[in-house]
């Protein structure tokens, strides 16, 4: 009997016990669906995270500069020694470039929170004192006008993010060129940014920000200080060496600072390893569901063999060989789990689609989880169908035909 006939026979047999076949396939369905949903969902998540870095490039590093506490003894002298560490100046931050030849550009920035008013209406947002390099590093694009620059010195110019722009539009048809008060100063809007995609590299929502020249920031508030610097590096920079170079630079020029480094490469690496742990864990759960599903298949096939002893006897009597009987039951188990697998893949994709919608991610279909779902379901069928099929093939014709006479 050829394979095609075996498959037709399997479908006829499974079709005649529909409910039972469906219930048996249910376990495989759940197992495959969880494997597919988990892996597919994980891939969507990591794709989403990678998108951020694809836009910016992975050769970025951010440094957070804090004043180091000089000793562990918590007495008052600690406080005085802390205040002796002078703040980082704009020039010092820009000179950081000399620390290593791997640094290609530098964007120090100052974050401030000051009351803002536009035509008498309060506007909420972050004030960022920046240089023109931030635009380049964060890939900010202008909708109108130009970005702030070091050349603006301490002029009262500002650039607004897209959300601020939308807000100001409520009060004025064209905010460009108009004036906005920040603290006690009046600024002229010289540029509007296009919508910017959030990333984990800068701690502010740039759409909800007002950008002023970095030197002007010092005028707005006496608390203005550079705590953050973003660096753009050469491709393939050794992060450890670079961190050491920068630390040395600070120790020599601006002592008493503690530095916290964050590089895109590190974030990516930790994301990847988290992703792997998650995938392994979810895969494990999926594997357990498949194991349970497989046992379900085995159970139903053993019942089927016991019930169909007479059929086995008839087939043996008319000339079926042991391997024909074995194939018949094995193929039934595989067909059963394959159908469970198809339904499981579809169901799993639906779940990952729902996750994507819920999380606001872009939905994509990856081929690996689908392929894996099918392969795993068929393998489960073969593995768990083997024993019942083997058992069936061991029966002798007369044993199976007797008892009905």
């Amino acid at each position: 009997m050829n394979l095609k006939m075996h498959f037709r026979t399997a479908i006829t047999n499974l079709n005649s016990t529909k409910l039972r076949s469906m219930l048996a396939a249910l376990g495989i369905l759940v197992g495959t669906a969880s494997v597919v949903a988990m892996i597919s969902g994980g891939q969507l998540a990591s794709y989403q995270a990678l998108q951020q870095f694809k836009a910016l490039g992975t050769n970025l590093m951010s440094i957070t500069i804090n004043t180091a506490s000089s000793s562990d003894s918590g007495d008052s002298s600690n406080l005085s020694s802390a205040t002796t560490s002078s703040p980082v100046t704009v020039q010092e931050a820009i000179n950081l470039k000399t620390a290593s030849s791997d640094i290609t550009s530098i964007a120090p920035y100052i974050s401030l929170y000051q009351p803002m008013k536009f035509q008498g209406h309060t506007v909420s947002g972050t004030i960022l004192g920046t240089t023109e390099t931030l635009q380049n590093i964060m890939k900010l694009t202008m909708q109108e006008g130009r970005f702030v620059s070091l050349l603006d010195k301490n002029n009262y110019y500002c650039v607004i993010g897209q959300k601020i722009y939308t807000e100001l539009k409520k009060y004025s048809l064209d905010p460009m060129g108009q004036q906005i008060s920040i603290g006690s100063s009046i600024f002229t809007i010289i540029g509007i940014l296009k919508d910017w995609t959030q990333n984990s590299f800068i701690y502010a929502d740039l759409n909800q920000s007002v950008f002023v020249p970095i030197n002007t920031a010092y005028i707005i508030s006496s608390y203005a200080q550079i705590y953050n610097v973003i660096l753009k590096l050469n491709e393939g920079t050794n992060i450890t060496t670079l961190e050491q170079d920068i630390t040395n630079y600070f120790n020599q020029n601006i002592p008493g600072k503690s530095l916290y480094f964050q590089s895109a490469a590190q974030i990516l690496a930790s994301m990847t390893s988290q992703q792997q742990i998650l995938t392994a864990f979810l895969g494990f759960i999926g594997g357990i569901s498949l194991l349970v599903g497989g046992i379900g298949i085995m159970n139903i096939m053993l019942v089927s063999v016991a019930e169909r002893r007479q059929e086995i006897g008839i087939r043996l009597a008319v000339g079926a060989k042991k391997r024909d009987i074995q194939k018949m039951f094995l193929i039934e188990a595989v067909v059963l789990s394959f159908f469970g697998g198809i339904a499981g893949v579809l169901f799993g994709l639906t779940i990952s689609f729902a996750i994507a919608i819920y999380q606001g991610w872009l939905f994509m279909i990856f081929y690996q989880p689908i392929l894996l779902g099918f392969v795993v379901s068929v393998l489960t069928g073969i593995f768990f169908g083997f024993y019942p099929a083997y058992k069936a093939s061991k029966l002798l014709p007369i044993e199976t035909l007797r008892g009905i006479e």
Partner: protein, 233 residues
């Protein structure tokens, strides 16, 4: 006429727990080509065991079984399957059709196991069903047919492989007397027109008397073996 089947000193014992049952007790038997044989006996006499042994459905415990002069008692299960497929056809009291398949698929089963392709198998199944006046029922499943119709399908299945020997185990046991007669006529026709060897187990003496040779089995032994001409004599 050359001997088709030769049994020498065949025994078959069943061991169930403490008790040993000797179902075939040193049987010697020769059946030639083109014979119509009835095996009769009370239930438990061993007549069914004898038929199953002859039909290679069961292996003897000891002794020698020559089929066409070749020893078959020691063959393995797959070799026996092959021989059954090529040389033998079976009809049973309970018909033993596959309940999930229609008549045509039941009939062509032996050919499929022989490796004949689907279309040819179907064609030959249709021919043989036609011969048994069962064309009308080709797409019916067993539960849509009467007992007599099912037995005709079973006989069609037994014949499709063009076997040398047709075995029938109480083929009319589940049928009424009118249908029984029709079925027996089919077997007699097989013997007379198709020149087949037909070996039939029955407990119905009237049917046995229609056969050319009657073997009586008791306690696993052949106690009587008469041919028509001897009976008439």
């Amino acid at each position: 006429m050359s001997p088709l089947i030769q049994l020498h000193d065949i025994t078959k014992t069943y061991i169930t727990g403490e008790t040993t049952l000797l179902a075939l007790n040193h049987v010697n038997l020769t059946i030639n080509e083109h014979e119509l044989v009835a095996i009769v006996g009370e239930s438990g006499s061993g007549k069914s065991t004898m038929l199953h042994t002859l039909g290679l459905l069961d292996k003897p415990t000891s002794g020698s079984y020559l089929l066409n002069g070749k020893e078959v008692a020691k063959l393995n299960d797959d070799e026996l399957s092959s021989l059954r497929n090529l040389k033998m056809g079976f009809a049973f009291q309970a018909f033993f059709l596959l309940p999930r398949f229609d008549a045509i698929h039941n009939v062509m089963l032996p050919l499929l196991y022989r490796g004949v392709n689907l279309n040819e198998s179907k064609e030959r199944a249709l021919q043989i069903l036609d011969k048994l006046s069962m064309t009308k029922f080709k797409y019916q499943r067993p539960n849509q047919m009467s007992g007599g119709q099912q037995q005709r399908v079973a006989i069609a299945r037994a014949l499709i492989g063009n076997p040398d020997i047709v075995f029938a185990d109480e083929p009319t046991g589940a049928l009424d007397s009118k249908t029984s007669k029709e079925i027996i006529d089919v077997f007699i026709k097989l013997y007379e027109e198709e020149k087949k060897t037909v070996i039939m187990v029955t407990h119905d003496i009237k049917i046995a008397l229609q056969c050319r040779r009657m073997i009586t089995v008791k306690d696993g032994k052949i106690v009587n073996d008469v041919r028509d001409e001897e009976r008439k004599a």
